[in-house]
Amino acid sequence: MAEGTEGTRGPALTQDQGARLADGDWHRVHPLTPVIRSWQLVIFILLVAVQNLGGDVAQGDLPELGRPNPGGRLLAGGGALILLAVLAVLGFAALSWRMTRFRVTADALELHSGVLYRQQRRARLDRLQAVDVVQPLLARVAGLARITLEVAGGSGSAVTLSYLTEAQATSLRNHLLARAAGLHYESDEAPEAPEHGVVEVPAPRLIASLVFSGAAVTLVVAFLAGITAALGFGRMGVVFGAFPFLVGVVSVLWGRFNGGFGFRVATSPDGIRLRHGLLEQRAQTVPPGRVQAVRVRQPLLWRGFDWWSVEVNVAGYGGGGGTDAASPENVLLPVGTRQDAMAVLSLVQPQLTVEPGESPAEVVVAGLDGAGPAHGYLTAPNAARWVDPLAYRRTGARVTREALLIRRGLFVRQFDVVPHARSQSWGLTQGPLQRRLGLVSFQLHSTPGPVTPQVPHLDAHVAAALLADQTERARQARAAAGPERWMEGVSASPTEAAPASPHPPSGPPSDRPSDPSVPAPGTEGSSPA
């Protein structure tokens, strides 16, 4: 993945920049950027043109050679118009390229862009939440990549540099992460942090997980219903009417396959590394302590395989929006065995710090598929059956010293983990019916994303105690929180309370040594002594 310093595949124009973008000077993005950014629009214009001209040709409107006639002039005029449109699109893209420049200083990434509306954006590196290197298909062919720096300013606050050469993008990513970690390096090139592979998703399992998904079942049912309507009742209109719906379902399935293909989860001192994607490849790095909340989820159809998926809230990624189709950034594991899911969970939340004599794994398993008050879970009282007759027995919440664990859902099992150090605010609500039954719901407010932790219908007094407990634990966690620059405190105070421990002690099942082929000039050893 790391190409070294020479951008062998990039054109000669960028050779002088090499990989040293982080020198504090202004740089432009790669000159091929306008083509790659506007190719879809160009193809669209050409398609429309070909379709129209093709129609004319098919109707015999093509002028005979050598005989000037109005149709010929029209054709020539149309061709000129198309050429003009394509040139205008490319010209605007080129102008936009010309107006885009960026620089990387010691503390920030600055990006100036915009032709008509100028924009100047400056992202502080110590506020960095995640760094993504993304390669759409065409960019990959051209050896280019775009790099996205997420900061916690809500949706649309990211700084995106598109496109750089792969080598530049990788090197810049390493620099940004090193600076954000508070690491100082002497060499020209930022050191690449060593990686430990943790989980890989085999393609057959991904395909099977999509076959046994709600979307696939919907597709089959809709297909059968359509066939029945068409053959049994002779109503072809139903089939055509359902077509957009089917296209939508298929595109959802395709999106999940495309995003989850070749999914690999790894851990490094820089945080969690994710690589995935079939056509559009994505390499994400989420530094320690940037995951705001985790949800482990099991749809009904996966229960027989004991498969689970893991999604996260990261400030800046956004995503969610209520549907079960999380945006690709939020997926930490598209599908995995129970062991995989627990390994990934332990990357995000290395320590739960349960009571002495208790095993963290048992507490987690009780959260995944358990029910009832075993392992210290607070449960919903019997009165909750009037408002939540099916799932109230499974509802449970457990507070450990490091995190709040919430389990929910009878058919679709959910298990949410929110580190106390990351909870933003929390509260209680009580509707009129709940008041009659003496019930109160507990909510925890996390940053925007697919995980919305809440415990519905607790006993009023239990909820009050949970609120007080959460308040106190979160206060302690805030006081003991690790530094924003996660490498700064590593050598100074290896306290057991640091949530930003670079390597999870409750080990993921991979104890193999780090890949020796990855250049690893001692990131861990070079922290300030």
Binding site: Q129, A152, G154, G289, R290, Q292, A315, L378, A421, R422, S423, Q424, S425, W426, G427, L428, T429, Q430, G431, P432, R435, V440, Q443, H445, S446, T447, P448, T452, A460, H461, V462, A463, A464, A465, L466, L467, A468, D469, Q470, T471, E472, A474, R475, R478, A481, E484
Partner: protein, 172 residues
Amino acid sequence: MTALTPPPGSGDEPFAPHDVTWSRVSPRLALARRVTLTITLGLLAAVVAVVGLVLVGWPWTWLVLLGLAVLGAWGWLLAGWQAAAIGYAERADDLLVRRGVMIRNLVVVPYGRMQYVDVQAGPLDRAFGIAQVQLHTASSGTDASIPGLPPHEAARLRDRLASRGHAQLAGL
């Protein structure tokens, strides 16, 4: 802060923790809401009266107007209850905001999690001498707004929250 963790099942009321003294908002909030309600319903009633008399006739028009009157009376009462139900408490590390009569709501916002504070006052609010203070965290789910504060109290609260947020600033 030591008394904050009562054992589960103790007699603590969920929306009124025993060690919290609530600050109330100005009763002028109820007045402002009643004026808004009266104007809205009044306009609606006028439209209903004109349209109803022209198109439908007396009995149905009277029925709808009666319905609006009942709605208005209910809203009038509710505005008073709601204003009385709003409370906030500044504790050492967090701000508590509670509100709601039918649906009760309590939210705890640590000062260290605060991203920014809004103070808003519309034209009617200014006429009645009240303002709203709203706390924002990195979560869009945090709904910690305190309406109906006298302007000097709103300004005091804003500055106090800002300074405490700065003193206890935690990362995200």
